[in-house]
């Protein structure tokens, strides 16, 4: 009986690691892709995979009777999965308020497709190489200098390494892509890394719950501010391209 439960647990960990590996591939896709709608799609798939990963933490929490906490764990990635494209559309076109307003949503999609990607001119091989280096760096940090405790430390390490890779690739996206929507996606990708680190490392229910609510607060606040700033800045500068904005900016020196 005990041997079978250990085997189930290790199978669960193996599935988790597979899902985490898929997060790496998706983040590579987000970095590599050359249009904003595809980057948004990649981001949504990543949020969906995170929702499945969060189930592995939510189920034991639910079994302990913490219904709100368990729901909260799954709800954050699901809400990002379902709402992000509409939220980004409303940031792009201030008049867009309702998800079923298809005409304005298509207008937003059209604008995203036109977004000028600086990296388009770069060789994709270079980006891939850079990404592999980022991932290697994260894995080396975690496996060589980050000691973890507990019974399943090897698998936990993989999760944390993926989380750090997501953070670094989010940062890279923000540095490399110069349109505002991609920068928001980069920031949200870092948020995904943070979320993964939380479900893999933070002890639940205490103090994990505090981290979860902090992350809700962070996500809501950041999105709120960005969706307030993006349309204003776009209106004043006439562009969503941060490179163009920077070139004509008076904020220098």
């Amino acid at each position: 009986m005990e041997a079978s439960s250990v085997s189930v647990a290790s199978q669960g960990e193996a599935i988790l690691n597979l899902l985490e590996a898929s997060l790496l591939l998706i983040s590579l896709y987000i970095i590599e892709t050359r249009t904003v709608p595809r980057a948004i799609m990649g981001y949504r798939i990543q949020a969906g995979v995170l929702a499945i990963i969060s189930l592995f933490t939510a189920v034991p929490v639910l079994q302990e009777g913490h219904v709100i906490l368990a729901s909260g764990l799954v709800f954050l990635p699901i809400s990002l999965f379902s709402l992000i494209k509409y939220a980004l559309a409303s940031a792009t076109i201030p008049e867009f308020h309702l998800p079923w307003d298809k005409i304005l949503y298509r207008k937003a999609e059209k604008l995203w497709r036109q977004a000028d990607f600086r990296r388009e001119k770069e060789a994709s091989g270079r980006t891939m190489l850079f990404y592999v280096l980022l991932a290697l760096f994260a894995f080396i940090i975690v496996f060589r200098s980050l000691p973890l405790s507990g019974a399943m430390q090897q698998t936990q390490r993989i999760g944390v390494a993926v989380a750090i890779t997501l953070q670094l690739s989010g940062l890279y996206t923000m540095l490399a892509k110069k349109d505002m929507i991609s920068q928001v996606i980069g920031l949200l990708m870092m948020d995904h890394g943070m979320y993964l680190a939380m479900v893999r490392l933070a002890p639940f229910p205490h103090p994990g719950a505090a981290f979860l609510w902090a992350l809700y607060f962070y996500t809501a606040l950041t999105l709120l501010l960005l969706f307030f700033l993006v349309p204003h800045l776009g209106k004043l500068t006439g562009s969503a391209d941060l490179d163009l904005i920077e070139r004509s900016s008076e904020l220098k020196g």
Partner: protein, 532 residues
């Protein structure tokens, strides 16, 4: 007595929060019944009253806390609060600058720029109160996640306040501010998760006053706690404006309205520094002597790097508010350098510098804000550029003198306050270089510290001349609109500046005894986690 102290602590947070609600309620019910000028007067006076009362309450807490209690521990809405000497010191810093800034805000909101800000004066003052409240919460909470939330919450109010002037530059600065600080702050949360994982011991895991008593059992735990500290340093360091994560700082500080710049530079950076200081204390106590030198070296290096990086930007031709913003980078570097020296006298100096820099920088931003407004009105329809500001001493003699005084103080001219704190930091540096222990016995000369001190002295000296050049250009000569004198309103514009200037002069010569006791206790808390 304890009940009275608890009430005092609650009212510290409640008052600015109450201010936000009051402004919102007044906006709904009173706005249409009053003239524009009267409406502005009502909400401005309300905000000034709130910040002054909050300041008085914090000074009233000073006596009992220093003499009898050591620390006030209480719970508000399920959140544990912990106020010791270090928290109270930061509360005082926040309240002094908030009072001066909200006083000056009235003059700013009367100007055409203040009137045309997005959302109007009511939103501006509501956000100022919210900003004040979140900074106070940051320095009194006992829970590390709530501390993170409070620091993150400062972003809501401050980002919108940066954008308030409602021109392209201010929106760009707000965007950069949100993007960079949000990126940084997430690293602080991941550091907190690492710490919680390393010390996981139930519900007390996140309470720093309990966590400090935790002794790591294995080397693995120690490595994890150290790694957590590094993430925290980068995360909160971003918000504290430390190099190389400082890139939001010159834009946000220079584009915000003057009272907001004073708050950003004077206290927002310090609230984030407070978070670093708490983690520094915890990490040192938990990890013991073996990591102490390494952590101090990291802080010293980051501090020195921030200071050195500020030099070329202060020397080059730049808009004056931007120059002042780079001075914030310099002074945060000086403060971190003082902590990194690891000697009590240097830490005393670094903590004193927190207040000295806040007061001096607030004076500079507010004075220059007054100048910009008056010159803009003298220029009329013609667009005012920063290069047009000259001959201030002739056109606005009182404000000009205050600007000179603030500028000289800011770069450490004796006998002003900043000189006093920099001298203490240097004294600690000399002690460390000569290997002097706390009881005065000499050891080996430390070449690394000597080089660091030389770089420190050289950088501050070069900065001195840079500031002198910028001041000379603005203050001397004659104004481009002729010899006409511009009006200077004593009550709304000059009064808060004079109060700050008096503090700058007095604190260069004398440290108020209760403040010295508060600082000594704070040093003991940071270095030994004990009361003297």
């Amino acid at each position: 007595m304890m009940d009275q102290m608890n009430s005092g602590v609650y009212s510290l947070i409640a008052l600015p929060t109450f201010g936000v609600f009051c402004i919102a309620i007044l906006w709904v019910f009173l706005r249409n019944n009053l003239s524009k000028g009267r409406w502005l007067q009502v909400i401005s006076l309300g905000s000034v009253a709130i910040s002054i009362i909050t300041f008085i309450i914090s000074t009233l807490l000073l006596g009992p806390l220093l003499n009898d209690q050591g620390a006030v521990k209480t719970v508000l809405l399920g959140i544990r609060l912990h106020i010791d000497a270090l928290s109270l010191y930061f509360i005082l810093v926040v309240n002094i600058i908030a009072a001066a800034a909200s006083w000056n805000a009235h003059a700013y909101l009367q100007s055409p720029e203040g009137q045309k800000g997005f959302g109007g004066p009511a939103l501006f003052l509501g956000l100022m109160n919210l900003f004040h409240a979140t900074m106070l919460i940051s320095v009194i909470v006992d829970n590390l996640v709530v501390l993170w939330i409070a620091i993150e919450a400062t972003t809501i109010a401050s980002a919108l306040l940066v954008a308030y002037p409602n021109h392209r530059r201010s929106w760009e600065a707000a965007w950069k501010y949100v993007i960079i600080t949000s990126t940084g702050i997430i690293l602080a949360l991941i550091g907190t998760i690492f710490l919680a994982h390393a010390v996981s011991s139930g519900s007390d895991t996140l309470i720093w006053s309990k966590l400090i008593e935790y002794t790591p059992k294995t080397q693995n735990e120690k490595s994890m706690i150290f790694l957590a500290f590094l993430f925290i340093l980068v995360g909160y360091g971003t918000k504290a404006g430390l190099a190389p994560m400082h890139t939001w700082l010159p834009d946000a500080h220079s584009e915000a309205a003057p009272p907001v710049s004073a708050l950003l530079s004077g206290v927002l950076l310090k609230a984030s520094f407070y978070a670093i200081l708490r983690y520094y204390t915890m990490t040192n106590v938990m990890l013991g002597e073996s990591y102490h030198t390494l952590i101090n070296t990291i802080l010293l290096t980051v501090g020195l790097f921030s200071l050195v990086l500020a030099v070329p930007f202060i020397l080059k031709r730049n808009r004056f508010k931007r120059v002042l913003a780079y001075h914030s980078l310099e002074h945060m570097g000086i403060i971190l350098f003082g902590v990194g020296i690891g000697m009590p006298v240097a830490l005393f100096g670094a903590l004193l510098h927190v207040l000295n820099h806040a007061i001096t920088k607030a004076l500079m931003f507010l004075a220059y804000g007054n100048i910009l407004r008056s010159y803009a009105s003298a220029f009329g329809d013609k667009k005012l550029n920063d290069e047009d500001i000259s001959g201030v001493l002739q056109a606005m003699p009182y404000t000009g003198m205050l600007l000179i005084l603030g500028g000289l103080a800011l770069v450490g001219t004796p006998p002003f306050n900043v000189f006093m704190s920099i001298w203490m930091i240097l004294w600690g540096g000399f002690q460390r270089t000569l290997g002097l222990s706390e009881n005065g016995t000499a050891g080996d000369v430390h070449i690394g510290f000597m080089i660091a001190l030389i770089v420190f002295i050289l950088s501050t000296t070069i900065i001195y001349f840079g500031m002198a050049h910028h001041l000379n250009k603005r203050v001397m000569g004659s104004a481009s609109f002729g010899k006409k004198k511009l009006p200077e309103s004593f009550i709304s514009e000059l009064a808060p500046l004079f109060v700050l200037a008096i503090l700058i002069i007095i604190m260069g010569l004398w440290i108020y005894p209760s403040l010295a006791v508060l600082l000594n206790q704070s040093v003991a808390i940071v270095l030994h986690h004990t009361m003297p």
